[in-house]
């Protein structure tokens, strides 16, 4: 990144090769639309491209790019929700983080126990998609990116106890949705 700040464009190409998969998948798992995920990823890299001179070398680059990705994803979805709904739902503050309650999907059909892998893939995708946006982002960063609570708290700009609370609730929500597909011990 410092090389790119000096004007070395090939350094930026290396950054993009290394991180495009990460950024696209965070966006995809969050927004659940491939084209929009790639559009978000393009926006992330444009911001990185424009911010090269302001980049603080003390900050870990991966944390920085995760932060940009998370912000754009959250802002994109919040803007969509604002435009699409006239909702009486208000954000609920809990443990220092915002939770926007999701309305239950009236077309949701309770899955059967014997689902094949493709169906399970869809069920997992839908279960994560039904989570409130902050819980969703915390799950994506923890489960699919393997980040620690501390790293997630830095990216989402909240305390580690707020991350703990988000993941607690998220896991309970996912358990209740996916329980029929989880082998009973």
């Amino acid at each position: 990144m410092l090389e790119f700040a000096k004007g070395n464009t090939s350094a930026f190409e290396q950054i993009m090769k290394k991180y495009k998969g990460v950024v696209i998948n965070i966006a995809y798992r969050f927004i659940q639309n491939r084209d929009e995920a790639e559009d978000i990823a393009q926006e992330v890299f444009l911001r990185v491209y424009d911010s090269a001179k302001r980049y603080n070398p003390k900050a870990k680059f991966s944390t920085w790019i995760h932060k940009i990705t998370t912000n754009i994803c959250l802002n994109r979805l919040r803007a969509k929700k604002y435009l699409q709904t006239i909702s009486l739902d208000k954000p609920i503050s809990a443990a220092g983080s915002e939770i926007i309650p999701e309305l239950p999907d009236p077309t949701y059909v309770h899955p059967s126990v014997n689902s094949d892998k493709k169906e399970l893939n869809k069920l997992v995708k839908d279960a994560i998609g039904s989570l409130p946006i902050n819980q969703r982002m915390a799950v994506i960063l923890q489960k699919y990116e393997g980040l620690s609570y501390l790293e997630i708290s830095e990216i989402m700009r909240c305390s580690t106890s707020a991350v703990d609370s988000l993941l607690q609730r998220a896991k309970q929500n996912l358990k209740s949705k996916l329980a029929p597909h989880v082998k009973k011990i």
């Binding site: 993009m16 090769k17 399970l120 703990d164 358990k175 989880v182 082998k183 011990i185």
Partner: protein, 160 residues
């Protein structure tokens, strides 16, 4: 540790985010409590199930599209940037410097006025305007003491 507290901590325990002491307490509790143990296993299995959702590969032309966007943006903005620097920034900077200079001169006049300091000794005071003449070494006005003296002395010389 009570079951309610243990269940609250199970997600963090599953993620290895608890300190050594709490981890040990929970392990001991799970070994004894079948209810919490069952809860933990359900949670772990659910978490494991999420792995079926595989990641996607970026499209082949992702990078090409990005550089295209960068080029398009640079084509759109250079005129604006030229206007910004030449027409707006340079005159603005000049105006700010001139205002700063004039402001400095004005403030300097307020803090350090051009009036000459006058002695407060009353025995020497001949009136403000006369004293200024003495200080500035200009000719004595005729009506001043100095002026009369000069007239008289010049008349004395005339009588010789």
């Amino acid at each position: 540790m009570r079951c309610k507290k243990v269940k609250e901590k199970l997600p963090a325990f599953l993620d290895n985010e608890l300190d050594r002491e709490k981890t040990s307490e929970i392990k001991q509790h799970l070994a004894k409590c079948s209810g919490c143990n069952q809860e933990f296993k359900m949670l772990a299995r659910t978490w494991e199930t999420l792995e079926v959702w595989k990641k996607i590969e970026p499209s082949e032309n992702f990078e090409a599209r990005f550089w295209q966007r960068v080029r398009e943006r640079e084509l759109r903005h250079p005129l604006f940037q030229r206007l910004l620097t030449k027409i707006i920034l340079v005159p603005t900077t000049t105006i700010i410097l001139v205002i700063g200079l004039l402001g400095g001169i004005y403030l300097g006049n307020i803090v350090y006025p051009k009036e000459t300091k006058v002695s407060t000794d009353e025995s020497l005071s001949l009136g403000k305007e006369n004293f200024f003449y003495l200080d500035n070494f200009e000719d004595f006005p005729p009506e001043s003491v100095g002026g009369v003296y000069i007239v008289l002395t010049s008349q004395k010389n005339d009588f010789r």
